[in-house]
Symmetry: C2
Amino acid sequence: MEISTEKTRIGFIGLGIMGHSMAGHLLDAGFSLHLYNRTKSKADDLVERGAVWEDRISDLAARSDIIITIVGDPKDVEKIYLGPSGILENAGQGSMAVEMTTSDPNLAQTLFDKGLEKGIQVLDAPVSGGDLGARNATLSIMVGGEKKTFEEALPVLEIMGKNIVYQGKAGAGQHTKMANQISIAAAMVALCEAMAYVSRAGLDPETVLTCISKGAAGSWSMDNLGPRIIKGDFAPGFSIKHFIKDMGIALESGKTFDLDMPGLDLALSMYRKMAEKGLGEDGTQGLYKLYESKE
Amino acid sequence: MEISTEKTRIGFIGLGIMGHSMAGHLLDAGFSLHLYNRTKSKADDLVERGAVWEDRISDLAARSDIIITIVGDPKDVEKIYLGPSGILENAGQGSMAVEMTTSDPNLAQTLFDKGLEKGIQVLDAPVSGGDLGARNATLSIMVGGEKKTFEEALPVLEIMGKNIVYQGKAGAGQHTKMANQISIAAAMVALCEAMAYVSRAGLDPETVLTCISKGAAGSWSMDNLGPRIIKGDFAPGFSIKHFIKDMGIALESGKTFDLDMPGLDLALSMYRKMAEKGLGEDGTQGLYKLYESKE
């Protein structure tokens, strides 16, 4: 497939915080954009700017050359892709689907296989970089599927992200995203308990971070979330409830290759405790609160 | 105390990999340097370069204006500072001791108090940056004690390090170092299990790191130890046995303020398992091996 803003019609499903910004960039780039979302009102401003609303996923699929999806969780992905009214049953032969939800690597493989049967190329292409990355089109995008399909999709992906890396066969994008989330999980525990230690020891946390963030303890989390913890700012860059979802997928995926991940286990159990306390809408740095309250 | 290379005599105890480099820098800077070490031969080259060997800690203490110590663990620190032949009983009134071992914050407080009784100013000033930092005089130094003493000692500390930060009263330097090690502990678990996941999922680890190290999962450990894990290089930048010592101190210190640190607990128990397997001389990135071997 050759991409051009004149000829290529893009279908976009999922207008959450991330998807809405991403769809906006595609519209700005001049593509003909067909939209579907569970809550129709979230498409209103995009439709005003020229996008076409579709009442049915099946219609959207039939009228698009590339279908981009970014929805809530693997169950949502199954719902929009599979079944008689789903994407794979209704998209035209030779079309392409780019599934950008953070989702199950095995499901990504299933969609790829089923797509192949129908003549539809499917990529798994989850992102990192959060709402800011989506807004500024600086998302990292980790892509699995056929390399040729990746290369064809690249001009479209480059409108939404910056660090776009082909990771291998179907599922490899999702696996990479899982590795990303696993890297963050126990590291957030480490950061939050170090900050709690600093507080209990009566140190000045800013002065401590000035010193330790430049060495072997340094991390993106320390640089970006450490200062928020100090200010008591627990607003979500990335919310606990979404992180719990991702960690659950990673844990299940690890089980399929018989891999124990005790750090991930620990982080997930601690974050679940937070969600039980009604703190699931906090940002991931909110884990700090668990160390403040003695049960 | 006013520091000058002409008048100030420095005593240095502890010529391990770190201490040997640090003492060398002080000698190069032109100070009169008195040395003591458990193994005398490690002082040989420094003595050839002009340092003075002392057979007894008591003599070294009596003949030095500033006594710098960097030894193995808190027990060693107690041994050289306390008792009739120790530093505090034998150093002159108005002298200064800079204790740079990673050690117990409460012991640091004890040394400070006992020093005060004898008219000896004691700083706790542990370092981070490893043997490379010591060799290149780029150590981070985290300092606790009297601010005035810190300011007096600064010209000497600047010969050994770069990022030198006053953290507060006696013990604050050690507490800061503990916060540093706590930040690293569970984060190493996170990194190693993410790398294990990548391997089991059949991804190319270099390609994965290219993508995820630039975002929210990024850290000093990922940048510096991730590539070593990929190469199978488990040589120590910082050894597991030393890390176990530090984590043990941090855990005990946390207990004194009733702080549970489950991430630290987990990391410590995993690293102890490695030491039991005879892998204590490996670098901390060796934790990766635990994920390779199923028990």
